[in-house]
Assembly symmetry: C2
Homo-oligomer: 468 residues x 2
């Protein structure tokens, strides 16, 4: 059934370039949402992020997706100071760091006057801008459901709800939901406003039961409200056909030949943004412990780390990238010999190389501290050609689905991660193949269209309840 949807997310599906062309947004969220365009009648509201975007902001553009699907795009040109506060002070790092439990509470954050200003004149102001655009689009067509995305937009639903009591509102939270004590990092008025904003939706979605239960728990603690009936678990996933095609593309085959030409006997791969939640530094330390314990494997094994530099305008992220580089240098200085380096670090946004590495791993290391889902754990096994094993953090959303076929690790236990790398490299071929095929079968049976169906089914339950 084709539906009318207003999709609201900070980043839109495309950015307009200086030459007038469109550049596709990367990242799992943009990709997953783009698949909505094929089956539904979508108006997409997002922040203008380039000069060309700003020139087109405030009107509704008729667009065509790559596969020919029509959609409408409504870009918002926020005040630049407000956007900086919203994005670089509140959303990342504050909310991101809270939702991934990353603050060093003895010292950070200091909720200072500057933060109160950034909250009010940045985050709240930009959310009001989003709400105003939603209301404009609802005036054009009132009979449309609204689908908010992620931690940038916690306040907008309440603002829309106040004006439109009967519109169906949905929100998907793509990040972990921490338990209520960790929300105490924010003053009560602010943490309450976040929960109140979300509760204004008819349906609130999470990747796993774990994050969903935490949300139910913290809403009960903070607002005294039981929102169980409003919540849904819908694990995000990938489009397998997209990866099948990519894996056979000329660009990936060329990159893969390059990896094959210089790869060691055994290849451990990690693919991440350079985000403190991804636990890259501990991963290198674990690899060092593995090389310590298995000197016979030196020169025979290497770790290829493909890291997309992330949010470098924010000091915490710049510091983390520096720590990654220092730790790589330390481990390589210690073990390198005759041209062999234990760790090959590529700081680059190069998805072609990523897919080539997906095909070539013997061990995929996903050891995130906390992670809403982690799509790498779904993408990489899909196209792997070496019966590779997956080492997976118990604090990822993916663990709830794939844990039984992975070697599961505690993200803080570097000794345990070193052992898991050893176990992964010691599994016999039959066992590795059985596990890999089980993951592939699972992901093909639970692809991104199922993610969307689960949410739309929840929407229908709400509408049915409302009608009764």
């Amino acid at each position: 059934m084709r539906r009318k949807l207003i999709v609201v997310s900070n980043r839109g599906p495309v950015t307009f370039q200086a030459d007038g062309s469109e550049r596709r947004s990367s990242g799992g969220l943009a990709t997953a949402l783009r698949s909505l365009l094929r089956y539904h009648d979508v108006t997409w509201i997002a922040s203008a992020t380039s000069e060309e975007d700003r020139a087109r902001a405030g009107t509704t553009l008729d667009q065509t997706a790559e596969d020919g699907s029509p959609y409408r795009l409504h870009l918002i040109a926020h005040d630049e100071q407000a956007y900086d506060w919203y994005y670089n002070v509140v959303a990342n790092p504050m909310l991101w760091f809270i939702q991934h439990s990353l603050w060093e509470l003895a010292y950070t954050p200091k909720v200072d006057r500057a933060f109160h200003t950034a909250w009010r004149d940045g985050y709240a102001a930009v959310n009001a801008g989003f709400a105003a655009s939603v209301l404009t689009e609802l005036e054009r067509d009132p009979d449309t459901a609204v689908f908010f995305h992620d931690y940038h937009l916690y306040l907008a639903p309440r603002l829309v709800r106040d004006e439109r009591p009967d519109t169906t509102l949905m929100h998907f939270v793509h990040v972990p939901w921490p338990q209520p004590d960790y929300w105490s990092v924010l003053p009560r008025a602010i943490r309450s406003a976040i929960h109140d904003g979300l509760v204004a939706n008819d349906v609130i979605g999470f990747h796993t039961d774990r994050w969903r239960r935490n949300f139910i728990f913290s809403t009960r603690e903070l607002l005294g409200e039981d929102v169980t009936q409003k919540t849904v678990t819908a694990p995000i996933s990938v489009e397998p056909a997209e990866f099948d095609a990519l894996a056979e593309s000329d660009a990936v085959l060329t990159a893969e030949r390059d990896i094959v030409a210089r790869r060691p006997e055994k290849l451990v791969v990690r693919v991440d943004r350079t985000d403190p939640s991804k636990n890259i530094v501990r991963g290198f330390r674990a690899f060092e412990l593995y090389l310590d314990a298995h000197p016979d494997m030196r020169r025979r094994v290497g770790m290829l780390a493909l890291l997309d530099p992330s949010r470098q305008d924010i000091p915490e992220y710049a510091e983390y990238l520096a720590a990654i580089e220092r730790e790589t240098r330390r481990v390589n200085d210690r073990f390198q010999e005759n041209g062999w380096m234990p760790i090959e670090l590529q700081i680059d946004d190069n998805f072609t190389m990523v897919v080539a590495a997906y095909k070539q791993f013997d061990v995929l290391l996903v050891n995130a501290i906390f992670d809403g889902m982690n799509l790498v754990a779904k993408e990489a096994p899909l196209v792997n050609t070496r019966d590779g094993a997956v080492v997976l953090s118990e604090n990822t959303g993916a663990h709830a689905e794939l844990g039984e076929w992975a070697l599961n690790v505690n993200p803080f236990d570097v000794a345990g991660q070193a052992e898991a790398i050893h176990e992964a490299l010691s599994l016999d071929l039959g066992e590795r193949r059985r596990r890999l095929e089980a993951i592939q079968e699972y992901v093909r049976g639970h692809d991104v269209s199922r993610w969307i169906e689960l949410q739309l089914a929840a929407l229908d339950r709400v509408s049915a309840t409302a009608r009764r």
Copy 2:
């Protein structure tokens, strides 16, 4: 009713000195437990901490408390390497930092091979030593309840229970209990062993419903067990008569005259160990913001910080003390004029001076990040003579009891703390007096003997249930 109790805590009520004399242990826990000696028949098991203690270890000593009450003391001489791992690697910092949510999870802790060793050959070994001593004392008198204390002894109860299925075991946890996601900092086997050890008790006590509910929650998540019926909330408190006497002692009166002679018009007091959970650095920043916003109060107000240096063998604590000193210097450098310094820092263990400062505060600042109880918030108002106001962190156990009469603050919100200092100094006399007297009345009505009664009543309920 006089009962037979074996009290088990890491630190005993006294330490033997080189000259054979006994030195009383300081701190709220030792003081609170000493009051047990008056009314009950107590055998106390603790770690030997001095050379003279070690010389007396392994036997049961007949002792007399200061008030003449007889008790028995059983000191344990642990292996020194094991004790160092148990105390300086596992209990503090690892467990302390987890229970107060202090780790910077992107970087710390690394659960390395050294930690696994410290857990097995340190924490578990020392707990086994405690359990063996408990079993020895139970052989002497099997009809005795055992009362374990705090985060040093999580494994001992299970070891005793395995040998003595019918003995009544009780445990009191003096620190906050974090919610289950934060326990994921420890590998599953370790966090499960901690919960399993506690669950071996018949009664497990906490200072507030908040920590107790968190324990029930994390036990359900980790062990799948509902321990609600085993838990009790019993807020620790003080002996008001002790503070009444202290307040009028010559030593305190002398110290108080010294404070009066040089105090500014308004005095903000904080009293803490130099522990990262105490939030001292943010407190100074809040005071700076207050001075920024109220230039008329410069030279008229001062902050007196009496800080007991704590656990300086552990790097995280040494670093925190350095940060305290840096922040003091920074704020003082900025505002000092004509001999006036905004912050007076005394790094010292001087309880006489503490009680004198309790009498003289206009504002008491307790802004702990997380704190099981915080006895300063109960002690200081008892003896205050200036109708002083209490600024109190919402994350302290004391907040559950005293919050309605305090100015409550979020510990991360330095802007909010600056405002609270201003509000506290702006309250009219009647309001300040009303609040202070309410706190005094509450604490006198809920003193340390009530803490003990609540626990013994829970013990009786368990015994009654067992008999039925």
